[in-house]
């Protein structure tokens, strides 16, 4: 199973020119081959981050391949027949067709969630400026596509902070494996399971926001709409090519069903909108559905490196010190550098944090953890270079020269959105309070344990 999922990222030998530019971005050196020859991805090493998909520029040149060849390849990749996108050598196999069918037949009650990074990138696929902030248009587009509930991953990111913040405090005060690692990046989790099995205990037991949302949709969400969990089809729109693997993991069935039925990338959501003939730029701004589409700014910044750390600090600081933060913006954990360390003073507590973006940057830190002399308590790791905004499923730039601008603008838009939201801290989100009162009980409680936490497999 896992093996098959991993082959979602592939290199087409008919298109690969062997330029090896993908070798320069692969964080786990999973790509093999001789220069000038078609390259191969080693399925055991690949963490499915999709960075190779983003950099590859070898495509089916117009005069070289015929139409039948192209149609067959489009089908293999689950791409729409009518697309004008070139077919690149490094690619992923998506779920576009499955979701299109479900929306057409309407025989399931559909719930959709979008990761934070989608709302700052989707518009790029419709010719709007790089990094345009479009949560309202995104919600409107999803509604026109026929989704029954427009919920949001950001709600679940707030939930993650409640659980992960409490878990961190518990490990610090009552004893537990330290330092604790974040667990929302599925490529990072897979990497630890495969390459550092002895360290799986350091990962937070919290599921990622995608999977927390999935578990809540088919239980609490099902109850709200009086639909049986089995009649819900739950779709996640992600900037990430590894999220599909995460959704397919055996253990991700806390609701009694597969918690997330299908994952689409930002690009695939673009295909759906285009096929439906929706004029994206002309859409009005609409709201997400209540209650599972309500979110705070803290949940929203999960999409950029340092965001999970900042969101956690915004809540954990107050839980521990009982005092409000001097400034909601914890700018010391932000930035572009691959490894960023900070010390947060919270009353009698001193929290030593480190934020890592780009998997290669974490190697030396993991060695210190192994040797037992890590000088930090809590580490956030994102596989992709600037966090999820730079994920493998995000819009692909035609020119490499535009990539830095895209990252920069997407990131600024996420922070701007955070600043303009009513609630800036996860525990302030009124719908989070309600879900605990009415359904979950308390963070780390029985129900949370069942639905929102998981355990990891140390691969041997």
């Amino acid at each position: 199973m896992a093996k098959r999922m991993r082959e979602f990222i592939r290199i087409d030998p008919e298109l690969c020119s062997g330029c090896q530019r993908c070798h320069t971005v692969c964080p786990v050196d999973a790509i093999e081959g001789e220069p000038g020859e078609p390259q191969k991805i080693c399925g055991d090493a690949c963490v499915m981050c999709g960075q190779c998909v983003q950099i590859c520029s070898a495509y089916d040149a117009f005069f070289e391949k015929d139409a039948d060849w192209r149609v067959q390849k489009l089908r293999e990749r689950n791409m729409p027949d009518g697309t004008n996108e070139p077919l690149f050598a490094a690619h992923y196999r998506g779920n576009f067709l499955a979701v299109k069918e479900i929306l057409m037949h309407k025989n399931k009650f559909t719930m959709v969630q979008c990761a934070p990074a989608i709302r700052v990138a989707l518009a790029e696929e419709f010719g709007m400026p790089l990094g345009s902030l479009v949560p309202g248009k995104m919600a409107a587009a999803l509604r026109r596509l026929g989704f029954d509930r427009i919920y949001d991953t950001n709600f679940a990111a707030d939930l993650t902070i409640m659980e992960e913040g409490s878990e961190l405090i518990k490990r610090l005060t009552e004893g537990g494996t330290l330092p604790m690692f974040t667990s929302c990046c599925p490529a990072w989790v897979k990497f630890i399971e495969d390459k550092y099995p002895e360290l799986v205990g350091h990962l937070s037991s919290c599921k990622s926001p995608q999977q927390m949302a999935g578990a809540i949709f088919k239980t609490y969400g099902a109850g709200l709409d009086g639909v049986a969990g089995e009649n819900i089809y739950s779709v996640a729109i992600m900037p990430c090519t590894c999220k599909s693997f995460e959704a397919g993991r055996q253990e991700m069935k806390a609701s009694g069903y597969q918690d997330v039925d299908a994952v689409l990338t930002t690009r695939e959501l673009g295909y759906l909108i285009k096929e439906a003939g929706i004029d994206f730029a002309g859409l009005p701004e609409e709201e997400f559905d209540k209650p599972l589409g309500i979110y705070s700014g803290a949940g929203n910044i999960f999409g950029v490196t340092g965001g999970v750390m900042e969101a956690a600090i915004r809540s954990a600081y107050e839980m521990v010190s009982g005092k409000p933060l001097d400034s909601i913006n914890v700018t010391s954990v932000r930035g572009e550098i691959g490894v960023r360390r900070t010390i947060i003073d919270a009353g009698e507590f001193q929290l030593k944090t480190v934020v890592v973006s780009g998997l290669k940057n974490v190697l030396s830190l993991l060695e210190t953890v192994k040797q037992g002399n890590a000088e930090f308590d809590f580490m956030e790791v994102m596989t992709c270079p600037s966090g999820c905004i730079s994920g493998g499923g995000q819009p692909k730039m035609l020119l490499p020269l535009d990539v830095p601008d895209a990252y920069h603008n997407r990131r600024n838009s996420l922070y701007r959105h955070d600043e303009e939201l009513t609630y800036r801290q996860s525990h302030e989100n009124p719908e989070i309070k309600t879900v605990y009162e009415q359904f979950l009980g308390e963070p780390l409680g029985h129900q949370s344990h069942k639905l929102l936490h998981t355990s990891y497999k140390a691969s041997s």
């Binding site: 495509y59 040149a61 070139p86 419709f126 673009g270």
Partner: protein
């Protein structure tokens, strides 16, 4: 000799890794509107330089902007012309006779659906709900050295290996002359040293 020789872009096969980034940059530079992402494409990418990959060599080929251009001589519609040190095709006047394709020793010319025609087709399909016009005008197309770009040829700019060079003969000759002068100077110097 005339200092105003035509410029052109040339690839260094020792540096080229065959990634095709230059082809994409070329197609984007000649697209009818500004686009940034792959998802924005509403028609196929059409490049004006062509990656050649054989067992012996990997490099893109493109128009050399020949001084005695065979394409100019062959053009039955007289729409290929010398302009500002370049050879340019007036796509509006091209009749698609393919003589230039046969004449070009570099294989640097291709027939494409006319950009003006695409405009018309877009309008048409909006009005007819997508029904395509069966008669599409095809025109000859080739490297125009990115006349419309102030930064110069897009292919040169994008290449991560610096395998493409924009050869401007005047500067090129000056550079070679000064390199040669330095080399000769050093040689004469050392020669004199030996003589004592």
């Amino acid at each position: 000799m005339n200092a105003q020789l035509n410029s052109f872009v040339v690839a260094d096969p020792k540096k080229c890794i065959g990634c095709r980034a230059c082809e994409i940059a070329c197609a984007v530079a000649h697209y009818d509107k500004e686009i940034k992402t792959v998802g924005c494409l509403d028609r196929p990418l059409i490049s004006r330089l062509y990656l050649v990959k054989t067992a012996e060599v990997t490099m893109p080929v493109q128009c050399h902007h020949c001084e005695n251009a065979p394409c100019v001589k062959s053009c039955t519609a007289k729409c290929i012309e010398y302009q500002d040190n370049k050879i340019l095709i007036d796509e509006e006047r091209c009749i698609g006779c393919k003589s230039c394709i046969l004449a070009c020793p570099f294989g640097a010319i291709e027939l494409i659906i006319s950009p003006c025609e695409i405009e018309k087709k877009n309008l048409l399909s909006m009005n007819t709900g997508g029904k395509e016009n069966s008669s599409q005008a095809v025109v000859a197309s080739k490297c125009d050295l990115c006349t419309r770009r102030s930064q110069g040829p897009a292919c040169v700019e994008v290449c991560s290996q610096q395998a493409l060079r924009y050869v401007d003969f005047y500067t090129e000759r000056k550079r070679r002359q000064s390199e040669a002068a330095q080399a000769i100077g050093a040689f004469v110097e050392s020669f004199r040293g030996q003589e004592g």
